[in-house]
Point group: C2
Chain length 339, copies 2
Amino acid sequence: MESPKKLRIALDTMGGDCAPEREVAGAVEALRASREQFEIVLVGDEQTIHHQLALQNAEHLPFTVVHASQVITMADSPTAALKQKKDSSLSVGMHLHKEGKVDACVSAGNTGAVLSAATLILGRIKNVSRPTIGTFIPAEHGTCLLVDAGANVDCRAQHLYEFAVMGNIYVRLLKKKDRPSIALLNVGEEKSKGTEAAQEAHKLLLASSYNFIGNVEGGDILKSKADVVVCDGFVGNIVLKFGESVPSFLKSRLKQFSTKGVINKLAVGMALWPLKASLRDMDPNEEGGVPVLGVNGVTIIGHGSSTVKGIKNMILRAAEVAQSQVNRQIEKALAEKGF
Amino acid sequence: MESPKKLRIALDTMGGDCAPEREVAGAVEALRASREQFEIVLVGDEQTIHHQLALQNAEHLPFTVVHASQVITMADSPTAALKQKKDSSLSVGMHLHKEGKVDACVSAGNTGAVLSAATLILGRIKNVSRPTIGTFIPAEHGTCLLVDAGANVDCRAQHLYEFAVMGNIYVRLLKKKDRPSIALLNVGEEKSKGTEAAQEAHKLLLASSYNFIGNVEGGDILKSKADVVVCDGFVGNIVLKFGESVPSFLKSRLKQFSTKGVINKLAVGMALWPLKASLRDMDPNEEGGVPVLGVNGVTIIGHGSSTVKGIKNMILRAAEVAQSQVNRQIEKALAEKGF
């Protein structure tokens, strides 16, 4: 019997803030963690990648290296860079995916550029108005998918509705939740609250067959009131970034407190262990990255500052998504409109 | 020589979640803290208030009690309640202010109702399109005024500009900052980022004479990048509530960790002191409440769950604002447009 075709994942090896060192090291770890059940295609400057593989004693591992002569930096304007840098590692990786040579393309590079590349090169899934990115926020009990996390700043009700549909499917399949609870992020629980788009989206979701629990407020996200919290990308991005800044704020506050005396210093020293342990999953490297939902393919965007573990998890997550039915189900759900 | 007229502050004694107990107790503490340099007018059910004063052994203190037969509850719809409950403690207090019988009116009641009462009864300051509420968020170094914190969900550029002007004056006069730094909350630093309103507001602020430092992102608020952070009330309310939920999230996480063994429990026990001490000013009771900016009068809205200390600080802050030039300067600044 022929063994099933191995999954292949392209990694934009030049994307992140510490590329290509961390990218290559993360790819090595992903390969080991998966016991080589999938293949990784390293896209970027060939010579640099081989050098990094040598440094990692990983030249014998079954990597494929695909050369790309250009790099899209964090400072580049997404759409301009995609037009001008046709041979960037991101473009080349995404085209490999488009051509069916790989099953996913992941990058810890310029978020806007990865999103644009996914949308422009892979195209939208049928019935999706706007691809979106969702992000998992650690909450009191498990995590909550915040969608949109920054892809679309101005949204109409239909867009918010579609984000809910896509978020619902992603959480159901990837987090193995049967009927994820879905909520709209708003300034009050009443359906009359918020912007016109929020009020209209409330109606659409209420009429749907989903497990819509109504509006939630900003304070309900961390309370695990819903599995999927829907908002436009302006709000989503701001909440996400605010949340990400909390650990360093705490650290700074504790540091200030510790300078006020020896006992304070001791107390802070002892507080660090339980605090770090309690907040371990607030580290975005645990999730590995945020999925792009609604494109004809599988893309995960890693944090620019991803650690080696972050890169590894980004690749592992992409493999999981590629093996799931996410995209097929999104197309189906939006054809049926969920009503 | 005649001593200057004493400041008089009306307190909606029936507003908060634990009214009137905490309201009366807070008023007693405020009077003591101020060494009776101002007068407090307790508005609400006369009999109940006298009963509370007796319980507090405070009947001899120079309070004035003004009877109001109705109460606007947290569940009431703000505008409907104001129309139907003409004799509510909030309405009566606000009318006392309108008639010049008191210099400020404060309430820890229904935020929407207090805001509506202030706007409808006191009226807008000349040149102000929309009154707003600002809230102080504790940051790494000092606090940051987030404005609008929930009063106006849909905002045009001109509204955002006015929030900046009012926030600037409030921080300058009340926090004694010479030239507060002002920033627009957005999804990126570039002026081309965000919604149309945000992009237009960026232009208006750039052309002004204020200390406008450009856009900041969600992660910059706690980093103390700006003294005044401007946004629409939809975003502001969500960020504020998200931030307020962080301490209870931390507590829940530490509790989960502490159940994993005796050593964990001990470690968490020891972590609580430095943590609480470091986050003391995240307690909204420290600030006492959020100012309503842009109305012809002085109103501070307390948190519904204000403690006695919260009520006390709300009253003390109102006294400070009443003695400042905030409203006159807002009128002047908006007449000049700041350009």
